[in-house]
């Protein structure tokens, strides 16, 4: 079931098209990566989903009906440019934002205390934001975003400004939120984090949706039948055995334990034959397909090489 559907959304600003006929569907309970180079139109799309701006054409559905003003209470948004009132105290501020999202004051305080304990920041309640470091303020901002337990969470570059330990803490919390049933839109340039936590992605470039789908499937789909064989034994014997069955891409790299060779194999039947041949020639240690990283796919897609 899809939580959010974007249908043929177009948004024009004076002079340029920020989004041109963009469609995507976000399955309920998934972590959905929204990727794209700077200026591609990601932020505009997020703002349209958030109802900050309205599209010129197309529509956005939440569940099975068009998104309505009150739906902002079902959405939590962590913008890339973080912002809190500097002179306001942490607790007071968090309660203020929670109330804007429809929580009662009492409920907000109860939930906040729990989150503060979870993040180990109980002592910050009466501190002013300006007394906190950037990373500390980000934690507060994260709590403010998720406090009203929205069905849809939108994180724009959530890990920027976090040290690895806190980034990990945050990642675990995001995945925990998903496990509790929240759907998460995750906008980033950081491809390794996409591989780690995203189930689905959409790649937006120059106002268009150029690639959409399940992360594993996309990677597999864009694999180019490159395999790596690791072995012990004589390289010449292996090369001789494989000749004619596949294309040998590069020479053996000397590694500490095993030698490796990269091959291009035409189809699945060929793979079996190659393995059999290699197995006869050398001591085979591993044979695996080289699946391209999201980083490679991203760069190739943006450069139009897909």
């Amino acid at each position: 079931m899809n939580l959010l559907t974007v249908e043929h959304v177009t948004k024009q600003y004076a002079g340029h098209k920020a989004l041109d006929d963009v469609s995507l569907t976000i399955p309920k309970g998934s972590v959905y990566g929204l990727l794209g180079p700077n200026g591609a139109g990601k932020t505009t799309l997020i703002r349209i989903i958030n109802r900050i701006t309205a599209p010129d054409a197309g529509r956005v559905l939440l569940g099975d009906r068009e998104i309505a003003p009150d739906d902002v209470y079902r959405i939590g948004y962590l913008p890339e440019e973080r912002g809190l009132y500097k002179k306001m105290k942490v607790g007071e501020q968090a309660v203020f934002f929670a109330r804007l999202k429809g929580l009662s004051r009492r409920e907000a305080v109860v939930r906040l205390k729990q989150w503060f304990v979870k993040f180990g920041i109980e002592g910050w309640w009466d501190k002013k934001i300006e007394e906190l470091s950037k990373g500390m303020a980000q934690k507060v901002q994260f709590i403010v975003t998720v406090l009203h337990e929205p069905e849809l969470l939108i994180f724009d570059e959530p890990f920027s400004g976090f040290d690895p330990i806190n980034a990990n803490l945050l990642k675990d919390e995001i995945l925990a939120l998903r496990d509790k049933g929240a759907t998460i839109i995750f906008s980033t340039h950081n491809m390794s984090s996409v591989e780690e936590i995203c189930d689905h992605i959409t790649l937006i470039d120059k106002s268009h949706n150029i690639l959409s789908g399940n992360v594993d499937e996309i990677r597999r789909r864009h694999g180019s039948n490159i395999f790596e064989v690791a072995y012990r034994g004589d390289e010449a014997a292996l090369r001789a055995a494989l000749t004619g069955r596949c294309e040998i891409l590069d020479g053996a790299e000397e590694q500490s334990v095993y030698r490796t060779l990269r091959l291009h194999v035409g189809d699945d039947a060929g793979v079996r034959a190659v393995i059999a041949a290699a197995n006869g020639a050398v001591d085979l240690r591993s044979f695996r397909e080289i699946i391209p990283s999201m980083n490679d796919i991203f760069i190739r897609a943006v450069n139009g090489a897909l």
Binding site: N50, I52, A54, P69, V72, P79, E81, G83, Y85, F97
Partner: protein, 440 residues
């Protein structure tokens, strides 16, 4: 609870809790009182020590009758002028009066040991003139002279009434001194509030933009709600401040002043409030003074002024703060606001200039029209209210003001909505006009 009210609460709490608000609220009336009392205080301190003047009176007429004043003391000496000038250098000066002073009034010389002043010289010549006049009258040998003089001495007291408002009622005397002072003070208060609180809204919008809080906020509330909440929140602060000042003034006027003023003045003022126009003659006090006291201690009069003040402060502030909010949203920092602020502050300053002439002539066409045009009406109308203008003018002016506020908020919201997401380049007026037409 609606989001606008949550925002209003935040804006209000943040400001009212600030030390600067508490200090300015308490300090302002004190400062104003000091300002009003300043002339008296300065007089008090500048009075200085007693000045002793040695008098050499060759006519023998003047010296015995010279009366000592608060600052001046006269001492008759029987020295020659030259000797006195040489010996009595510790005196303020030596006053020489010629023997033929009656025939020749210019036979008076003051040898001052230091700089003299116009006030002192006038005090001395004034005294001598009175003595000489009395002496000359005596020369006519009129019987019962003193009695005649006492009977002749007259002091005219005039009261002004508003014939255009009531042809019969004589209970409401009109004091132009009180009206002028009140008009000036109220106009100034309006001027101060419009600029101060308007700029406060602008600064706070810029701050939110710089902090990037806006991005978070607009995911929960519509930009229009955010702007309205901010404007109303700051308005609540302004209203509270006016109310506090109002209460302070009423308490001061109705309860503290009576304790400090002489009883006969107070009785006169009360008589005047109750419609006895000859009260001042009874009390033997200057009627302007009496009317001033009557006005300041008249709770009804002050309440009427404050009612108007609140309505005009609120309306005027709303109109201007909407413009200030739009300007704040269009720029990235306070330095960039100048070119946009000019068209806003210009009408305010213009209104202030008009106000200066209006307090002299509150019913001129200029005064009327400027108190109808919404950009100048708060300041100009407020300066006219103490004179007691027709109520329909006040109502019309308020109606125009509040209607134009609604139009201005609508316009400002359009600029605001686009402006808060624009970073970097400072827009031109042309671009602002374009933003108004953006579809969202």
């Amino acid at each position: 609870m609606s989001n606008v009210s949550i925002i209003i609460q935040r804006e209000f709490n943040e400001r009212v809790r600030k030390k600067s608000f508490i200090i300015s609220t308490v300090l302002m009336p004190v400062l104003m009182l000091l300002l009003m009392a300043a002339p008296a205080l300065i007089m008090q301190f500048s009075r200085g020590e007693e000045k002793l003047i040695a008098v050499i009176d060759e006519s023998g007429l003047v010296a015995p009758q010279l009366e000592d004043g608060e600052e001046l003391r006269f001492e008759t000496v029987s020295l020659q002028t030259d000797e006195a000038r040489r010996q009595l250098t510790d005196r303020f000066g030596v006053l020489w009066i010629g023997a033929d002073i009656l025939a020749n009034p210019s036979a008076v010389k003051l040898y001052a040991n230091g700089s003299s002043s116009l006030t002192i010289e006038q005090a001395i010549t004034g005294r001598i003139e009175r003595i000489l006049e009395a002496e000359k009258l005596k020369a006519y040998n009129i019987e019962n002279l003193q009695q005649i003089l006492d009977e002749v001495d007259t002091h005219v007291v005039m009261q002004t009434f508003r014939n255009d408002r009531s042809q019969e009622d004589e209970s409401q005397a009109d004091s132009s001194i009180v009206a002028t002072a009140a008009g000036f003070i109220l106009g100034m208060i309006l001027y101060m509030f419009l600029l101060m609180y308007g700029a406060m809204v602008m600064q706070s919008v810029i701050e939110e933009k710089q902090n990037r809080v806006l991005e978070v906020m607009v995911s929960s509330v519509r930009p229009f709600q955010l702007m309205l909440g901010k404007i109303l929140g700051v308005a609540a602060v302004a209203v509270v401040q006016v109310l506090i000042w109002g209460v302070l003034l009423v308490v001061l006027g109705a309860f503290v002043m009576p304790l400090m003023l002489p009883e006969e003045v107070l009785a006169g003022a009360q008589a005047m409030q109750q419609g006895m126009p000859d009260a001042s003659a009874v009390a033997g006090v200057d009627p302007d003074m009496l009317q001033a006291v009557a006005a300041v201690t008249d709770v009804g009069y002050i309440a009427k002024l404050f009612g108007c003040l609140l309505l005009f402060v609120f309306g005027g502030y709303l109109l201007y703060s909407a413009m200030f909010a739009a300007v704040g949203s269009a720029v990235d920092n306070v330095q960039d606001t100048q070119q946009f602020q000019l068209p806003i502050t210009l009408p305010i300053i213009l209104a202030l200039l008009v106000m200066m002439t209006v307090i002299k002539d509150p019913s001129s066409p200029l005064a009327f029209w400027c108190s109808m045009i919404p950009f100048t009406s708060p300041i100009v109308m407020m300066a006219r209210v103490p004179y007691g203008i027709p109520w329909w003018e006040v109502v019309l002016s308020l109606a125009i003001l509040y209607a134009s506020f609604v139009a201005m908020v609508w316009l400002a919201a359009k600029i605001y909505r686009v402006g808060i997401f624009m970073y970097g380049k400072k827009p031109s007026f042309k671009e602002l006009a374009k933003w108004v037409r953006y579809k969202y």
